[in-house]
Amino acid sequence: MKKQQIYHALKVDHDICYGCTHCMNVCPTDAIRINDGKALILKKRCVDCGECLKVCPVDAIFVEQDDLKNIFDFECRVALVPSVFTGQFPTSITEEEIFSVMHELGFTHVFQAEFMVDVINDLMNEQSLTNEDKPLISTFCPSIIRLIQVKFPSLTDNIATVNPPVNASAAFYRKMLIKQGIAEEQIGIFYVTPCAAKIAAIKGFEKYHDSINGVINMQYLYNKLYVKIKNSTKEEKELPVLPHLSSKSIQWSLTRGEADNMNGKCLAVDEIHNVIEFLELLENDEIPVVDFLELRACDQGCAGGVLLHGNRFLTVERLNERARQLENDNEGVNWKEHKEIIKDKDLFISKLDSLPAMSLDQDFSEALKKMERIRNLMCYLPGIDCGACGSPNCSALAEDIVQRKANLSNCVFLQRTMEKSKKLSGEHAIRLIEKTWGKDRLDKDCRKKGAKNEGM
């Protein structure tokens, strides 16, 4: 298998991180360790789901994003906006209003990321019919794709080879603008992202697509926009004319958005831990025949994206409301009118490789030896899974020890046993704790979170 450089969008701000165990405990792939009082993300295992970002009590985990100023590197500045973005605004504010304020921020064009949903829907139905490995798994959520590559390698053949709508839409709009006479290098398409996984997908892993020039954090843009909308005088403004999306396209990124529109027996599972539970069953052949699987890392689909400002349930309700308003509206743009400019390479991706990250060693007999040592170590570790060693649980610590990334004395309980048998001095034990949790970590500090002088 070829070595690939994997890009991750989630980063830890070491100035803010104070080394608690929240992120480490929720990580669905055991990809976080604490060392020297800071969280460390293991690149091989991270799937950019953003659970750590959601749970961090001090906002030390952030996404790497492009500066809004970057759009001015281009003459033609396109914002590619997913429908959940508009779903955060009250329905009294129209899509046109929202998009017109985006023009004020400097974008010359605003397009919808779900524009190509109908095409994608048709293509996936075709693949679902012919795919030998049932069920066909949607490519919509990049975090799920990564999860399968890393943790469920035997299911990579089930992943569709159809591009997600955002990439197909970007390719379409780029060609449309070129056809209108704009030079390709002058076109900058910026995707307004609801999550970390889409940043990682666009910026790096696999050759996802090259028609998107940057990503803008949705939360950041929402704040910029909402201030402008709040302060705007309700004068007559020239509103942009938008291609109206179908109600199906508007709801596509929500849970059941795909499953309700695919042929055959379709299932939708959202939230990454639920997805893992389901994929375990699927891998054991415990699931009766299903034709299509919609899997999303976030609860409520993209409405639950980490970079969304609003409550996910309200966002879902608002999008459903917007979709209902559109049901009587037949002005939707027919992509077939533009069929000649869409090429296969805009619509399809190649089969994905697995990137198994859970194995102990490339070599089977080495792995077998390591596993024997892990089982031996587990006889001594207490099985409390407290995380005080800096690894998420006892078996992860045992694995880290075998991989020479930790020591048995990292376990605070074994430290006590060692102290009792005089193998370890009290001072040495404190030094060990400080190695994991940072210097002076056990000193009194009244300004820490929850303490009496917090924030002073």
Partner: protein, 136 residues
């Protein structure tokens, strides 16, 4: 290296626990995903067989650099005619079990398809031993 799992007859909620544990182990051992899948599918079938038919059973998994050997040893009614049980579609499962989606009579044939060697021996009213071997 040996792993041992106990199986409780009649408890379908827990059927599959051993298969999942073995699957995790094989993934950690970097066994080819396609082989893992075959072994796990076979083991799950066999595990469900024990749950569906026997009172209790023990699964012993033996992993060496050459092969993976799994033995399911149960206390139960046994199989009177093993050749018949190996036929696709033959099933003695009760209607209650069938209602739960099990007992289609594909168990043993499906196991045979997914492993390299399959040995079934049984004593009526005592129990059944299913041994399956996959070479690496």
């Amino acid at each position: 290296m040996e792993f041992i799992y106990e199986v409780e007859g009649g408890n379908f909620t827990k059927a599959g626990n051993a298969s999942s544990a073995v699957k995790k182990t094989l993934k950690q051992l970097n066994v080819n995903p396609k082989i893992v899948k075959r072994i796990v599918v076979a083991l799950y079938e066999a595990e469900v067989n024990v749950v569906a038919h026997a009172y209790k059973g023990v699964i012993t998994v033996n992993i060496t650099p050459e092969h993976i050997n799994i033995l399911l040893d149960d206390e139960g009614p046994g199989i009177p005619d093993i050749d018949l049980a190996m036929k696709e579609g033959f099933s003695t499962a009760s209607s209650k079990v069938r209602e739960m989606g099990f007992g289609a009579g594909m168990g043993l044939p499906n196991i045979k398809k997914n492993v390299d060697d399959l040995n079934v021996s049984s004593i009526v009213d005592k129990g059944t031993k299913v041994e399956m071997k996959t070479y690496l």
